[in-house]
Structures are given as structure tokens and as C-alpha cells.
């Protein structure tokens, strides 16, 4: 296990390096001179040049890249051109909001998707099973930005029950906070919810046909123990893979969801920064999201080991991908 951990963490280094390279060069390719865009059309050529100099944009590219890497290792993402404050501060301000959104969507997806999948497997080929299967098929095909718009149409425009945009502060009380959270997290939860239901249904069906389930029943265990202890733990491995995948997709989905609901998270930060050509913010936040993504994948790999002791993670073919 220790060996595995060390190996996986070392594997992160080249991945993160490549991430840094990709982000650096892509953001340098953004159209328009950032300094000129920032200072607006009235700015004189001298001002633009001076500003470029201050940003280090006149240094040779390799010098810029080197400085950028050094700063990265110190978690210094530079200063936003637009907000005039460190990008790291902006991220620290916005990232928790994205996490709130993504985690509540994940919880919602698990709370609804997993029991629905288990139920469908338990009642295979019944009406309930068909309902769950059909809904989950529709769910995985859902364009979530459309679902977001439809939720707004129904719950905000027509019924007037829930706010369509913004985020409530927890200081104003739990309800105002939750009221704002419900629609965006529901929209974001739809795809993972459907995906979980599908995965858990098929893996439960596979698991329930195993000999050890019959053996567990023959021992006189309660049906709930047979299903929720013996079958579920074995059916969880594929769910974990999908969960890791979906959580990272949630970070991507959050970009769209946050735009629709004006949720002040990383997604909105990135989209706004792209609009304003604030390449420092784009660079910093995209790298940050990538790091989080990579770390989540590592955690998923480690969770595998906990759930399924049979996987030998020190074996190059066994574990990590």
C-alpha cells in the first residue's frame, strides 16, 4: 500500500507538468494583447508597453515559462488583471462555492441514484425496474444547461418557488442558503444520478447471481444484510470508478451550471475571465481545477484498495489508471 501510494504520487509529477505546459501555451495563444485589452482602447502605446513589461510579457517565452513554473510550486498564480488581486485569493474565494455545488450534487445523485439502482435490481423486470431504467437512460442523455433552463422556467418563472440565480449566504440562515442551492445542484446531479442508477443496477444484478449470495442466504442472514452488506459491497467497485469519473465531470458540468444560475464558483470565474481576456485568472484556475481533478482520481484509486482487497495495487497491471 505504501509502495503504491508513493508510486502513484510520483506519477502525478509528469502529469501535472504536462498540465502546466498545456495551460501555459494555450493561454499565451489567446487572441489579443492582454495588456491592450486590459487597458482599453484609449490607452496609449507607451502605457500598453509599460503594462506588458510589468506583467513580464516582454520576456522571452522560456523565461516566462520558467518564472511561471517556479511561482506555481509556491502556489503563486499571479495577479488578476481584472480584479487586481492575487488569483490564488480569487480561487480560494470561489472554489469553496464550486465544492458546495459539486458535493451537494454528488450527495443528491448518490442518495437518489444508488437506491433507485438497487431497487431496480431487486425488482428486475418489474414495472419499477422499467421506470428506473427508462428515466436513467433519459438522464444520461440530458443536456444539463437545458435542464437548468427548464428548472428555472418551472420553479422560478411559473411557480415562483425558488430563486433562479445567485447564491445565498449561510449567514442569512439555512433556508435562504438551501433555496439557492436546490435548482443548480439538481441540474448538476441529473447525469451522475442516472449514471449511478445504471451502474449499480447492472453490477447488483451481476453480484446477486454469485454463489456467495446463495451461501449467505443459506446461513440464515436477513435479506437486508444479504443485499446491503454482501451484495452491495461487491457491487460498489464499479460504482466507485464511475463516481470518481462523475465527480471530475461535475467540475466540468459546474462551468455550465454556474453560468446558468450565476453561481459564484470556479466555472463562472473562468467563463468571465475568458470574456475579459484575463489570461492570468484563466491560467491559474484551469491549472487549479486540473490539480483537483488529478487528486480526486488518486483518491478514487486508493478507495479501490479499501473496498476490494483482492486488487493488488503494487502490481503494474492491477490498479491505477
Amino acid at each position: 500500500m505504501k509502495k503504491f501510494l508513493i508510486k502513484r504520487i510520483f506519477q502525478l509529477i509528469p502529469t501535472l507538468f504536462i498540465v502546466a505546459v498545456i495551460v501555459f501555451f494555450i493561454t499565451r495563444m489567446l487572441p489579443g494583447d492582454p495588456a491592450a485589452v486590459m487597458l482599453g482602447p484609449q490607452a496609449s502605446a507607451e502605457d500598453v508597453a509599460a503594462y506588458s513589461e510589468r506583467l513580464g510579457l516582454n520576456d522571452p517565452l522560456h523565461q516566462q515559462f520558467f518564472d511561471y513554473l517556479v511561482n506555481l510550486t509556491r502556489f503563486d498564480f499571479g495577479n488578476s488583471l481584472n480584479y487586481n488581486q492575487p488569483v490564488a485569493d480569487l480561487i480560494m474565494e470561489r472554489f469553496p462555492n464550486t465544492i458546495i455545488l459539486a458535493v451537494s450534487a454528488l450527495i443528491l445523485a448518490i442518495l437518489i441514484g444508488v437506491p433507485a439502482g438497487i431497487l431496480a435490481a431487486k425488482k428486475q423486470n418489474t414495472f419499477i425496474d422499467y421506470i428506473v431504467t427508462t428515466l436513467s437512460l433519459v438522464g444520461v442523455s440530458m443536456p444539463i444547461f437545458w435542464l437548468g433552463v427548464m428548472l428555472v422556467l418551472l420553479f422560478s418563472v411559473n411557480l415562483g418557488w425558488l430563486p433562479s440565480t445567485g447564491m445565498g449566504s449561510i449567514n442569512e440562515g439555512l433556508w435562504p442558503f438551501l433555496r439557492h442551492l436546490i435548482l443548480p445542484s439538481l441540474a448538476l446531479a441529473t447525469i451522475p444520478m442516472a449514471e449511478f442508477a445504471r451502474v449499480i443496477r447492472s453490477s447488483m444484478l451481476e453480484t446477486l447471481s454469485n454463489d456467495y449470495i446463495k451461501a449467505a442466504r443459506s446461513k440464515g442472514l436477513k435479506e437486508t444484510i444479504v443485499i446491503y452488506k454482501h451484495a452491495l459491497k461487491n457491487a460498489l467497485t464499479p460504482l466507485l470508478t464511475v463516481m470518481g469519473l462523475q465527480f471530475s465531470k461535475l467540475l466540468g458540468g459546474a462551468v455550465l451550471t454556474e453560468t446558468i444560475f450565476s453561481w459564484p464558483g470556479m466555472g463562472l470565474l473562468i467563463v468571465n475571465a475568458i470574456d475579459r481576456r484575463d489570461f492570468v485568472v484563466v491560467q491559474g484556475s484551469v491549472i487549479f481545477v486540473a490539480i483537483i481533478y488529478v487528486v480526486i482520481n488518486l483518491i478514487v484509486d486508493i478507495l479501490y484498495k479499501v473496498v476490494n482487497p483482492k486488487i493488488n495495487l503494487d502490481d503494474p497491471h492491477g490498479g491505477g489508471n
Partner: protein, 297 residues
């Protein structure tokens, strides 16, 4: 004697192959969901090809005097948008964008991704490590984020959308194909072929590629659904297809601002995306089950 044996053997192989194909088709068509998916895909393709004949109006013809009509008013089946353009005709033409972007972006990703995966899996060693680390690096971005950043660099437009979504598809294809190549490479008959002194190119294209194609097709089908959603997302964010070209995503974005006056604008464009993606997913599911129920893509 040996030649007779060989003929017999190849006959047998052909027979097995034919039987396999037969049962594959039967399995696929017997699956009601897959058949439904096929019908939806068929409708989409027909609509895209015959758009000029199906559409009742020119998709880009503006008439401000007729803006935001309700469905059925003045001969506009699904009403009009804020510029007075016919919604039905724009939906019909929008199918072209979805289909073109879906197929060509996946083709782009599949060609480059498979090539990388093929090299990585077949050559192995250091080349494999380098390529896979690069793929890991690209996969460290949420798919849509990579596409968004690429679109910002490239600028709006159909070709750029295809490139941005295509590039985002490369790492997935590289991984799937590499996995396939590795598993086929380890198979016994490749060993035999190699021991008989076959050339690399011959092994690659006669044995590894055909054997890896089935999972790749399934993966590609599913990716088309993803690419269509991505195009709609990009257009929804205003980073995709250039206006005034009709794309379901940009129609949805425009419709979003008129939820009270003309809710059908946003509703219908979204439904078009949903049904298209659902159809492709149904078909892809069926395809996977028919090819190999145990296959995990």
C-alpha cells in the same frame, strides 16, 4: 493434405464469422431500445439531408414585425424567435450542425487518438510512457473546460468547434485503443504470427486493428452523443457556432432570455438535443450489448 485442411479451416472460419455477424444483427435488432435509437438516428439523418425541403421558411430570414410569435401563428409551426425567424425551420437546419460536428469531431478525435494509442500500445516502453503521460495530462482537464479554452483560442466557427471538440476527444480514444492493442497483442495468435516472421505493419493492420475495431465503434458512437452535447454547450456559452447559423445550443441560449414570452424556444431546442443524444445512446448501448455484453467502455 495440408492444403485441404487449410481450405476446410478457412471455410469453417468464414462460417463462424457469418454466424457471428448474423447473431450480432439479430441481437441488435431484437433489442427494442436499440431499434428505437436507430429510428431516431435515421430521422436525424433524413432531416439533416433534406432540410431545405422539410423546412417551411428560410432559417435565417428575419422579420422583426413577426418576432416572438406563438406556435401556429401566421403559419409558423413552432412560432418565431426575437428576430422573427421561424423556429421549426431553424430546428430542422440545426440538425445539420449537430450531425456534422458530432461525426467529424469524433472522427478527428478517433483518427488522432487511435493513432497515438496504436503507437503507444504497440511500441511500448519509453514511447508508451511519454504518450500516456501526455494523455494523462490532457485528461486532467474536465472535457468541456478543455473545449472552452480551445474555443477561446481558436475563435467561433464550425471548423474550430470540430477541432476543439475533436482535440478533447483524443485522449479518450488513445486510452481505449491502447488498451485494445495491449490485450490483442498478448493474444496467442499474434505470438504465432510473429514467430512466423510477419512484418510489423502486417501484424498491425491484419490482426491488431480489425480485432480492436468493435469496442472502438461502440466508444465512437457514445462519443458522438457527447460531442453533440459539447457543441450545444459551447454554442450555449456563445463560444460555438457563429450566429446567425442555426445551432440548437445557440437557439437555447437565445430562448433562455424569453422564457416568459416564448417558453417554446428554449423548450424545443433542448428537446431536440435530448432526443438526438438519447437516440444515439440507446443505439450505442444496444451495439455494446450485441457485440459483447461484458465489454466495458
Amino acid at each position: 493434405m495440408e492444403t485441404i485442411n487449410e481450405i476446410e479451416q478457412s471455410k469453417e472460419l468464414q462460417y463462424i464469422q457469418a454466424k457471428r455477424e448474423q447473431s450480432f444483427l439479430r441481437k441488435l435488432l431484437r433489442n427494442r431500445f436499440a431499434a428505437l435509437g436507430l429510428v431516431i438516428i435515421f430521422i436525424l439523418i433524413i432531416t439533416a439531408i433534406f432540410a431545405p425541403w422539410i423546412a417551411t421558411h428560410s432559417p435565417n430570414a428575419m422579420d422583426v414585425s413577426k418576432s416572438l410569435l406563438s406556435p401556429g401563428q401566421q403559419g409558423h409551426l413552432l412560432g418565431t424567435d426575437s428576430y422573427g425567424r421561424d423556429t421549426f425551420s431553424r430546428i430542422v437546419y440545426g440538425s445539420r450542425i449537430s450531425l456534422i460536428v458530432g461525426v467529424s469531431a469524433v472522427l478527428f478525435g478517433a483518427i488522432f487518438g487511435s493513432l497515438l494509442g496504436l503507437i503507444s500500445g504497440y511500441v511500448g516502453g519509453r514511447t508508451d510512457s511519454i504518450i500516456m503521460r501526455m494523455v494523462d495530462g490532457m485528461m486532467a482537464f474536465p472535457f468541456i473546460l478543455l473545449a472552452i479554452v480551445l474555443m477561446t483560442v481558436l475563435g467561433q466557427g464550425l471548423v474550430n468547434v470540430v477541432i476543439a471538440i475533436g482535440v478533447s476527444n483524443i485522449p479518450g480514444f488513445a486510452r481505449v485503443f491502447r488498451g485494445q492493442v495491449l490485450s490483442v497483442k498478448e493474444a496467442e495468435y499474434i505470438e504465432v504470427t510473429r514467430s512466423l516472421g510477419a512484418k510489423h505493419g502486417r501484424i498491425l493492420f491484419k490482426h491488431i486493428v480489425p480485432n480492436s475495431i468493435a469496442p472502438l465503434i461502440v466508444y465512437a458512437t457514445m462519443s458522438i452523443a457527447g460531442a453533440i452535447i459539447s457543441e450545444a454547450s459551447l454554442s450555449f456559452l456563445g463560444l460555438g457556432i457563429e450566429p446567425p447559423t442555426a445551432s440548437w445550443g445557440s437557439m437555447l441560449q437565445e430562448g433562455k432570455d424569453f422564457l416568459v414570452l416564448s417558453p417554446q424556444l428554449a423548450t424545443i431546442s433542448g428537446l431536440a438535443i435530448l432526443f438526438t443524444v438519447l437516440g444515439i445512446n440507446l443505439f450505442g448501448d444496444g451495439l455494446r450489448d450485441a457485440l459483447d455484453p461484458k465489454m466495458k467502455v
